[in-house]
Symmetry: C2
Subunit: 266 residues, 2 copies
């Protein structure tokens, strides 16, 4: 909690907004032991917080049950205050959702309670909803504290061997095949011109279609790295030139059920 | 260890390259407890590995001493094999260092030993040297496993409230004042055009000069987020419009001794 003062007038202590990472195994067949991917300080904070803002309340409760197996949570799960982000934010992202004002979600912090923000997997507000809540917290003068945990994009970037000193994450590629190929070629051209690694993701059931489009659309010398199942025992990263990816069997390509991160460096 | 076979011929099992994150407190006055920022699986891997490739052997040994306080390391530190990346890679980065071939550094893995790659702070090969080692590992057919730990860029991005679904990290800005201002304005224009958050870093003793340049060069409505001392008790993030940053005292600006991450969203 912070006890900030403004304008010289005393004010009740305000809560802090904690950004609480979740494991990356959401929707996967197997789970990573929580202690493998979350430091003790993150687990203790998750166990202590009684107010939550999340993408999906059911997933948040399942996560807190796993936390409770390691560190007893402060109250029974049904007594926690768990509030969901609106559907428009899920669907379009915080920055395309127009004028969504997240301040009302932060009411508990104005009454002195710390709040946790959690998404379904990984770091909230990174390739996931939540940034509107963080922005609102800053605008209300709340302290914002990000806690350490797994971030699939950065694990994938490190494991790719591609340029980690200049990189971009561009989200999802277009679904339309012609538009997708045009985008792939534009990202490759940008990478060639600037040296900037380009990272993107896809809904798992479209992994194979994306791999086909990448193998067909990229130049043979461009390096393509694909990480899937990060933090799981089955996790793997293959980083190779497109020329090599084109050789069957396409070893290292993700199946259509596992989240993957794609990176190219031309 | 992986026991891959090529060409049908049996081959000795090969070691895996583990990417081992380090805490972010390198060069800081205070240290974060290691268990606050590194999950148990990362600490156990660091304790187990006997072969290391690092940015700086002295820093790597200091890190392993801290690990040893929590999990006894496999051998006395002086018996570990610790090899440094060449200076050219430190200075220019893996992707500007020309034809540096990191394969000879990975000899132990060809003999079946797992190897750890570690940098001075955070995730190796992300805003830090090491990607040439990762690339060489892939080219040798070694498995590459990134372990979870703190990544200052992503903690800063999450805490900024800026767009986390489209972002870029561009490294350091130019030192020359006129070039730096031109670069700041180009990044702001890019962010305005594409919605892409632009992240960059600076050597701590230039923090104040960079803050001056940002406050002078950016538009009043552009949001500027500055995170310093991430993962430390003194850590803080301020995310506000440039108009507000211009008001003295410049609350939330980093001092000239603490690593900071800067992010803008126009």
């Amino acid at each position: 909690m912070t006890a900030a003062k403004h304008d010289g007038a005393p004010r009740a202590p305000r809560g802090t907004l904690y950004l609480v990472p979740a494991p990356l195994d959401f929707g996967c067949d197997t789970q990573a032991p929580l202690g493998d991917v979350l430091p003790e300080a993150t687990l203790r904070a998750a166990a202590r917080l009684e107010h939550w803002i999340c993408e999906n309340a059911k997933t948040a409760r399942a996560y807190l049950k796993r936390v409770n197996d390691l560190y007893p949570i402060a109250r029974p799960i049904q007594e926690l205050q768990i509030r969901e982000l609106p559907r428009a934010v899920h669907k379009k992202g915080d920055h395309q959702a127009g004028s969504f004002d997240a301040k009302p979600l932060l009411g508990a912090a104005l009454q002195g309670h710390d709040i946790g923000l959690v998404s379904e997997a990984g770091m909230p507000a990174v390739a996931d909803p939540g940034s509107s809540v963080v922005r609102a917290a800053h605008d209300l003068g709340l302290a914002v504290v990000p806690l350490t945990g797994p971030v699939s994009l950065l694990l994938a970037l490190a494991a790719s061997g591609l340029n980690g000193q200049n990189f971009a994450f561009v989200g999802y590629l277009p679904q339309d095949a012609a538009e997708r190929t045009a985008r792939i070629r534009a990202l490759e051209a940008l990478s060639r011109k600037t040296g900037q690694t380009q990272l993107f993701i896809e809904t798992p059931y479209r992994n194979a279609a994306l791999m086909d489009a990448l193998c067909a659309g990229l130049q043979p010398d461009t390096r393509l790295s694909v990480s899937s199942g990060l933090t799981l025992a089955s996790g793997r990263t293959r980083s190779a030139c497109v020329r090599d990816w084109r050789q069957p069997p396409r070893s290292g390509a993700p199946d259509n059920a596992t989240p993957a991160v794609f990176a190219i460096g031309a």
